[in-house]
Amino acid sequence: MTTNPQTPDLARVRPTRIAESRGYRVFQVINTTALVLIVSLTLYPFVNLVAKAFSSEGAIVAGQVNVFPRGFNTTTFTAVMSDPMFWLNYRNTVVYTVVATLIAMALTTTFAYALSRRYLKGRTFFIGIAVFTMFFNGGLIPNYLLINSLGFKNTIWAIVLPNAISIFNLLIMKSFFENFPADLEEAAAIDGLTTYGIFGRIVLPLSKAVIATMVLFYAVSFWNNWFQAFLYMDRSDLYPVTVYLRNLLAAATSTESLGADSAQIASNVQAVTMVLTVLPIVCVYPFIQRYFVSGVMLGSVKG
């Protein structure tokens, strides 16, 4: 592709919009079109899901549902929502998410704060034992045996404790605290505050932004989690909604792979359950998305 061989002097003085070559304009059009296509492909599965959730089962089986619902109805919503087990599992998800996030935040903020103090003796050692777990971990079976021998099976602890510290989040918080203005803490110390006082009354209130980001990180990951519950819960009244959904899908796929026809679990029941499960995330997503981005940036720029 060709470009302007010699940038005119005028443009160099005022480099706002230089006259672009034809080749570059063609490129811009292709690029924009490609991006629009990528966005459409990304969104299509969601659109399709919503369309199926509002369609009649007959239309889905006949293969008529793509972008728009066919045979519009909301009866499946009523049906899924009147299943007491669905609501129980939904409530479990909320409880697990809230408790797990609280525990995770308590451990992560205190740990990150202590690790961010450069004068702390043994600091490198404590950072080392935390970071090492990112590269090597116990593996499925030893973890499973541990949780079972602790008697956590069929309790909330199996879900909220083993994942309480994400090392990635820990490092983000640590680098945030490291950049905290030291003068402020010194002044507080001179005014007679202890470490606890400084942490609770100075540092935490001034770290609301990063704390909010971390809460979101943890809450989304706990909301989405299914495997812990799948492994350690035998009773359906303890499942989170993700496991409820996975059982629905598993029942459907096993019938389909065995060649059974429409006796399978109705596709629109699956679609409705999925829509209801992602609904909270999709609703808050536009508001929280930029915090996530800044959180990741923070972690990446200041390793």
Binding site: G122, G138, T253, E256, S267
Partner: protein
């Protein structure tokens, strides 16, 4: 943690003072440190207990790969059996099948899914309208926030006999394909869904790296007669190379740990020939049939390959490009 460790922020302190404070810090004994900072050390108690119990005890628990485990007995096993379980999986034909599958799926993911975020970031970088750029970013990040169960559900819906993909095939005059009963299609479906879920989010760090490239470099290149492609090649790609290296190392570390949860949710016995990987086999043997020692041996083997890969990739990257994770 995902990029090159930046230099510690250098404080503007006269050299003498730095030296003095360093000497002073070197003299601090544990007794003094504990007396001075004991409140700070109390912050460490619970997190360190957490790491010890939930991270390091399972690490030590890997020892049952070499010891016989009895139900109800110690989680560290009861008696030594040497390499018995290692020999067992080396002689197990299913192990070699899942090993090959792991390598293929891991290799495909690395070769296809790793470069795409770079391409998307370059495309986004050329967008002039800020609003449009933000829109594309927001929309392509979305799948990253979905539970893997939801992703699996969507994949199953789209690939089902009456799903959208089959409708498209039929509209183009093709025949229905029963994707979820045909092992030949599994890798395509897996990699495709992986692209869908990770590509947008993967651009974040590259876009961040792109903003740090100095505009003057482009100007200088233009004066030297470089066209846009050459500018992209020599300046843009060179500028984000450290980020690329670090993410590549991390990806290589994940090579063996191919999307275990996703495969577990997607596959069925008909798909085992291509979909069964070490982690899923380990899950079935271990949790399913209760052969704890045997599956721990497999898991340990897998983890060791992973660690070796990260270490060698890191060393190699440091030697070749000078950027590394540590």
């Amino acid at each position: 943690m995902t990029t090159v460790a930046p230099p510690e922020p250098t404080q503007v302190v006269p050299p003498a003072q730095t030296l003095k404070s360093r000497r002073r810090r070197g003299r601090t004994t544990w007794r003094r440190a504990l007396r001075r900072d004991w409140r700070l050390y109390t912050f460490l108690v619970l997190p360190v207990l957490f790491l010890g119990l939930f991270k390091y005890v399972p690490m030590a628990g890997n020892i049952i790969a070499f010891r016989r485990f009895r139900p109800g007995g110690s989680i560290f096993g009861d008696e030594w059996v040497g390499l018995h379980y290692v020999e067992m999986f080396i002689q197990d034909p299913t192990f070699w099948r899942v090993f090959t599958n792991t390598l293929i799926i891991g290799g495909l993911t690395l070769a296809i899914v790793f470069p795409l975020p770079i391409l998307l970031a370059l495309m986004l970088n050329e967008v002039r309208t800020r609003l449009f750029k933000r829109f594309v970013q927001t929309m392509t990040y979305l799948p990253h926030f979905m539970s893997i169960v939801i992703v699996a559900g969507m994949v199953l819906q789209l690939t089902s006999l009456n799903g959208s993909i089959n409708q498209l095939i039929e509209a183009l005059g093709g025949e229905q394909i029963s994707f979820m009963q045909d092992p030949d299609w599994f890798r395509t479906i897996y990699v495709g869904s992986e692209i869908w879920q990770t590509v947008g989010w993967g651009t974040i760090l590259y876009l961040a790296a792109l903003t740090t490239i100095d505009d003057q470099l482009y100007e200088a290149a233009r004066i030297d007669g470089a066209n846009r492609w050459r500018q992209t090649w020599h300046i843009t790609l060179t500028g984000i190379r450290p980020t690329m290296m670090v993410l590549l190392i991390l990806n290589i570390g994940q090579f063996m740990a191919v999307g275990f949860e996703k495969i577990l949710l997607l596959y069925n016995p008909l798909l085992y020939p291509t979909a069964d990987v070490i982690a899923t086999y380990l899950y079935r043997v271990g949790i399913g049939s209760g052969s704890y020692s045997y599956s721990t041996a497999i898991g340990l083997f897998e983890a060791l390959i992973g660690v070796t890969l990260v270490l060698s990739a890191n060393a190699l990257s440091r030697r070749i490009s000078g950027s590394s994770l540590w």
